[in-house]
């Protein structure tokens, strides 16, 4: 490559790297008169973990499929890694990773065979064994995919999604059916990928998962975004009142206050036994449910 071409490539690459990972403006998808997506704007920054929440049928899946380039949009501007997914070629595809959720394919191939096969499609793939180890399936390397349990099958799906070293990874309800440890191991894996600079778009129904992983989230209901923010601040959660409960002289007492600090000081001064004290703020799940409920 000549010096001129290589500096042009460098310039292009650094410009691309400055852009947001995903920019969506005015996205609409209409099916025969009905708006599955009715005007969505959203921005996902590079290297962040972004979670999309919302009831089934609210337009979440449609939006993600449009971002993946698997569905045509009716209107709106979409830029994913700087390109329009509806028109992007295989070079763009190589920068994206999709972790499928419910596929039954390649049942007769071994884990290693399948991972290596898919790796072959990508110009900068990881080594198959490295990825298999990353998802914790090394001991199943030569087992046919047919023989794996549901959870192990999912790990293969993750392996296939990341083997191409994508800059952007789409995860759709990735831990459904996982037991609690497997979930936590999976979360660690995602955090490792994010730490490496991978941008991650995660749809999930588990609010604790969203809370554990997401840097930012958005709630989609009835084809629109009804709330956006961080897990701590979504829907005004941080400003919501705290509910303080304790037992005083054998009776259970509860008070709702914006800031429990003074109440606690008062209780301490009164000599109340604080081992029964609980302070709860609305959980992310509570906040989410009230956001969804408000749209009905």
């Amino acid at each position: 490559m000549t010096a001129a071409r290589s500096s042009l490539t460098w310039w292009k690459q650094s410009t691309i790297r400055c852009m947001e990972a995903i920019e969506v403006t005015g996205l609409r998808k209409t099916y025969g008169g009905r708006d599955a997506v009715a005007g969505i704007d959203l921005v996902v920054a590079r290297g962040e973990i972004f979670s999309l929440l919302g009831p089934n049928g609210a337009g979440k899946t449609t939006t993600v499929e449009i971002l993946e380039g698997h569905r045509r949009r009716t209107a709106g501007d979409v830029r994913v890694l700087g390109e329009d997914p509806g028109r992007a070629g295989s070079a763009w595809r190589a920068r994206i990773g999709i972790v499928l959720q419910d596929a039954d394919d390649a049942a007769d191939l071994t884990v290693h065979e399948m991972v290596r096969h898919i790796a072959g499609f990508y110009p900068e793939a990881r080594k198959a064994d490295e990825v298999i180890e990353l998802v914790g399936l090394s001991e199943k390397r030569n087992s046919k995919i047919r023989t794996l349990s549901g959870g192990q099958r999912r790990r293969v799906d993750v392996a296939l999604g990341i083997v191409g070293r994508p800059e952007l990874l789409f995860l759709d309800e990735p831990t459904t059916g996982f037991d609690p440890e497997a979930r936590r191991q999976f979360w660690d894996l995602i955090r490792t990928l994010a730490a490496d600079g991978t941008t991650i778009v995660l749809t999930t129904h588990y609010l604790d998962e969203a809370e554990a992983l997401a840097d930012r989230l958005a709630v989609v209901a009835e084809g629109r975004i009804v709330a956006e923010g961080t897990p701590a601040t979504l829907g005004g959660r941080a400003a919501a009142e705290a509910r303080v409960s304790w037992t005083e002289n054998g009776t259970a007492r509860t008070e709702q206050v914006p800031d429990p600090t003074d109440l606690i000081r008062r209780l301490l001064a009164d000599g109340v036994d604080l081992t029964t004290l609980t302070i709860t703020r609305p959980t992310l799940e509570d906040t989410y449910l009230s956001l969804i409920g408000a749209t009905r």
Binding site: L53, G54, P55, N56, D102, T147, S149, G150, G151, E173, T176, G177, F178, D179, P180, E181, A182, R183, R184, H205, Y206, L207, D208, A242, D259, P260, T261, I264, R265, L268, V272, D273, L274, T275, T276, L277, T278, I279, R281, E285, Y288, L289, I292
Partner: protein, 310 residues
């Protein structure tokens, strides 16, 4: 009637073996009538095998299992109409519509629930004429639940009842299960969602590698002996060594402090006093108790399942 006062499910030292592997190695549990029991454990812990014994699909290799006072395998025909079993995956006619499937199972029962009411409760009304194979995972799950309940069973086995459901559907299902308990129905459920277990279960059994690792009510297991983690917001950059060695203190984010250890009243008072003494203005306080999830993880964390291929 035989077994009128018997527990809903009584399992004593049940053993299940597959060839050389012991899936269940001597498990005992009791589900009293009208209560909800949550069976927890990693995949491969033996939950499914144990359930199969209780549902009458497997004879235990050792030990005794009694369901509603009867032998689930020997008295299978007498027992079946009184049980509701929710299967994890399909097994129904994929080309039939949701309504047809529910009405079919209703027709098997002597005194079924109103199918329309069930469809409404589980949010399946608009899918009544949709073919099963076109339903999403969560919708199929809800239909399986409806099928399990339509015969007005005395005892219901629910296997991961809210898997694949969105948050609202999960909450609706929880309400439904709570109503079942109020109606006197006994429920044995397996789940990976510990908030689900914490909310629904009267009793919890945690299995690990074919054995019972812990059992009790959620409250007993989380045993509220002390607040475990105290979260504070105050002036940033304080020197926490002044707090003393009884607690572990950290500042994970600027101005946010987490203090953990055995925090009793005196301890709390001491901590707040210390913050006041260094002139730091405490603006927010939060406490976190041990949850069932913490208990579960600490119980299961160190062991990798033996010979688990599930």
């Amino acid at each position: 009637m035989v077994g009128g006062d018997a527990a809903a499910v009584e399992v004593r030292d049940v053993v299940v073996r597959y060839g050389g592997t012991t899936a269940v190695g001597g498990v005992s549990l009791t589900l009293p009538r009208g209560r909800v029991l949550a069976l927890l454990g990693h995949n491969g812990a033996g939950k499914t095998s144990l359930l199969q014994v209780c549902e009458g699909f497997r004879r235990p290799d050792d030990g005794v299992a009694r369901v509603l006072g009867l032998d689930p395998v020997g008295d299978h025909d007498a027992l079946m109409p009184r049980l509701g079993i929710m299967l994890q995956s399909g097994g129904v006619y994929p080309w039939a519509t949701a309504g047809e499937i529910l009405r079919l199972f209703a027709s098997f029962a002597a005194n079924p629930l109103d199918t329309d009411m069930l469809l409404d409760r589980l949010g399946l009304r608009k899918f009544e004429r949709t073919r099963f194979r076109r339903l999403s995972g969560g919708e199929q799950q809800r239909l399986s639940l409806a099928v399990a309940l339509v015969g007005r069973p005395e005892l219901v086995f629910l296997d991961e009842p809210t898997a694949g459901m969105d948050t609202e559907a999960r909450h609706t299902t929880w309400q439904l299960i709570e109503e079942l308990r109020t109606d006197g129905v006994s429920v044995l459920l397996t789940t990976h969602l510990l908030d689900e277990a914490e909310r629904l279960a009267d009793d919890v059994v945690i299995m690990r590698s074919g054995e019972v690792a812990a059992t009790g009510t959620p409250a007993e297991l989380t045993s509220a002996a002390a607040i475990e983690v105290l979260e504070l917001r105050a002036d940033p950059g304080l020197d926490l060594s002044g707090l003393g060695s009884r607690w572990t203190a950290a500042e994970p984010a600027s101005g946010q402090y987490t203090i953990s250890g055995a925090l009793d009243t005196a301890g709390l008072a001491e901590i707040l006093a210390w913050f006041a003494s260094v002139g730091a203005d405490v603006t927010a306080v939060n406490t976190r108790r041990r949850t069932l999830e913490d208990v579960y993880l600490s119980l299961t964390a160190t062991q990798t399942p033996v010979g688990a291929t599930k």
